[in-house]
């Protein structure tokens, strides 16, 4: 009996259990969030009047666009952080590439025991909490932190340098968090590089720089693109880094959602900002999926 049941329905169970779970706890929440973003804010519990509701009076649907209009009217408070998120995420990606490329190169070119050790060293931060590593960074960058103390003690500076709550602290945090994500795809494409190509080029008299420009860089380009997408997409929506390391000049959308929700208790506006954040990442995400499909075929 059990066996027949499994043979007949096991197939369906394997598919519909995860489909059911993810529809209920991932799709439905997004739909509800869209609903809330078109709802009217009010002073009650919960603090909004649902746009779409099924009540005693039947189904009603009355969307209001106030939240999006509010975001537009107060663009300095909402759209400026959106631009800021893109700017900070973009330059963080560039910085990650700047350091990750040499790291990936070195790992790809080193011999076996060292290569494994370096790979574990890259992976280890990826497994440990970003929150704790950001905290460790604060200890370094604070006005009375390790770097300033050292520079003061050495007599290089007279007053502490302001490093916290600047673009510099955001980039440091992003580097600390996302370097491994950039290194892994770069490593994967550099390690496949055929040595014979490089030797042939060198034998024919190419200089190191020419070899890099004409062979290594073009062949590692898929890794560069994959790494940039892997860093940029989560960096745009980052909350912990701007919250702990950034000041008012480094406001990002992830933090704005948090503030609107927890401090201002304006849920519809928080939902509308979340929709804008999704709109920002959707282009790179679609591009990443398209790239992925190309790579497989």
């Amino acid at each position: 009996m059990m066996r027949i049941f499994f043979q007949k329905y096991g197939f369906l169970l394997v598919i519909w259990l995860p489909v059911g779970w993810l529809s209920l706890f991932f799709m439905l929440p997004l739909i509800e969030m869209i609903n809330v973003s078109f709802s009217e804010a009010r002073r009650a519990v919960p603090p909004y009047n649902p746009a779409f509701q099924i009540g005693e009076k039947g189904i009603s649907f009355q969307p209001v666009f106030d939240n999006y209009l509010l975001i537009y009217d107060y663009w300095g408070d909402y759209l400026w952080p959106a631009v800021n998120s893109i700017r900070l995420a973009f330059f963080s990606t560039v910085w990650c590439l700047f350091f990750a490329y040499p790291m990936a190169w070195w790992i790809a070119r080193s011999k076996k025991p060292l290569q494994h050790i370096l790979l574990v060293l890259v992976l280890m931060p990826f497994w440990t909490s970003s929150l704790l590593r950001m905290y460790a960074l604060i200890g370094l960058l604070n006005p009375n932190g390790v770097i300033n103390d050292f520079l003061l003690w050495a007599g290089i500076i007279v007053t502490p340098i302001q490093m916290m709550q600047t673009d510099f602290s955001i980039y440091s945090g992003m580097l600390l968090t996302y370097l491994p994500l950039m290194i892994l795809p770069l490593y994967a494409s550099l390690v496949r590089l055929d040595n014979a190509l490089l030797e042939a080029a060198a034998d024919l008299g190419a200089k190191n720089w020419d070899i890099f420009r004409t062979i290594i860089l073009p062949l590692s380009l898929p890794g560069v693109i994959a790494g940039c997408l892997l860093v940029f997409i989560p960096a745009v929506g980052e909350f912990v880094i701007p919250a702990l390391l950034g000041g008012p000049e480094q406001l990002m959308l992830g933090k704005v959602i948090w503030t609107e929700f927890f401090r201002n208790r304006d849920w519809p506006v928080a939902a509308a900002i979340a929709i804008i954040l999704i709109a920002i990442i959707i282009l790179p995400v679609v591009y990443a999926r398209y790239q992925d499909k190309e790579g497989l075929s």
């Binding site: 529809s23 790291m103 929150l131």
Partner: protein, 268 residues
């Protein structure tokens, strides 16, 4: 060139590793500082570690985090395995596109958006039919299991795809029934990836601050939530000690795991 790496490349690489490790190592050193002032070194002491064991808030938060981590990682791994099987073994089925969409979108969704949307759903559900009544450990567990299963699916899928299919086919040809073939042939072969998926889901859940903050209720603060509220008050040797313990224990797991993988690869 072949193997030698230009000096400039090596220098930048070493600076890169420095960025990854110097902050954490400095923090670990200062966790043994006797002074309450964070940056003034006043001698070696382990008193901050001793104080941790008397901090009830931290201990209960740790207990909750571990409980949520274990249960959500288990759900994640089971569902991740189902998703992986569906994608690798069933060539086409109705809803494949939908499943591939909902199983990959959580990987790229900003945490603040996931957390907010889930909370809004939980509240709407509570208003409609009374479940979940309030938010607490169970809602955090559901939220963590939801994004954890997508990561678990990726890990298991890779292994399942690379696996030698002929072993399964041979077992079926010899008359083995599907569930039996799966349990005795497939499962042991993909076990390393299942363990890796579980560990990944566990650490994702254990480290998560943003989603947990949205879907937690009063009295269900996890360890990252407690640490975050302490960090906002400033740097303290006590947090240095907690962070050091957490990072060291996770690192020990990672090193152990990579040693196991290396040994397995060495045997091949």
């Amino acid at each position: 060139m072949r193997r030698n790496v230009p000096f400039l490349v090596k220098l930048l690489a070493i600076i890169g590793f420095g960025i990854l490790y110097v902050p954490v190592i400095m923090m670990m050193i200062y966790s043994f500082n006797k002074s309450k002032l964070v940056s003034v070194w006043a001698g070696f002491s382990t008193k901050w570690y001793k104080e941790l064991w008397t901090d009830d808030i931290l201990i209960t938060a740790l207990y909750k985090s571990v409980l949520i981590g274990i249960s959500s990682a288990t759900i994640s791994t089971i569902f991740g395995l189902l998703i992986a099987i569906a994608f690798v073994r069933f060539a086409s089925f109705r809803g494949r596109l939908f499943l591939s969409l909902v199983a990959s979108a959580p990987l790229v969704m900003p945490e603040a958006v996931t957390g907010l949307s889930m909370l809004l759903l939980f509240i709407a559900m509570e208003a409609s039919f009374g479940w979940p009544s309030g938010r607490g450990i169970d809602t955090i567990m559901i939220a963590h299991a939801t994004f954890g299963m997508c990561f678990a699916a990726v890990v298991i899928q890779t292994r399942l795809r690379d696996m030698d299919k002929s072993l399964e086919e041979a077992a079926r040809d010899l008359g083995g029934r599907q569930p039996f073939v799966f349990l005795s042939i497939t499962f042991p072969l993909i076990l390393p990836s299942i363990i890796a998926a579980w560990l990944l889901s566990f650490t994702l859940s254990f480290d998560d601050l943003v989603i947990a903050s949205f879907v937690s209720g009063p009295g269900s603060s996890t360890l990252p939530i407690v640490i975050f509220s302490k960090i906002r008050l400033g740097v303290s040797p006590e947090i240095n000690a907690v962070a050091t313990l957490m990072i060291l224990s996770i690192s020990a797991f990672v090193i152990l795991g990579s040693l196991l993988v290396l040994r397995r690869d060495g045997k091949k």
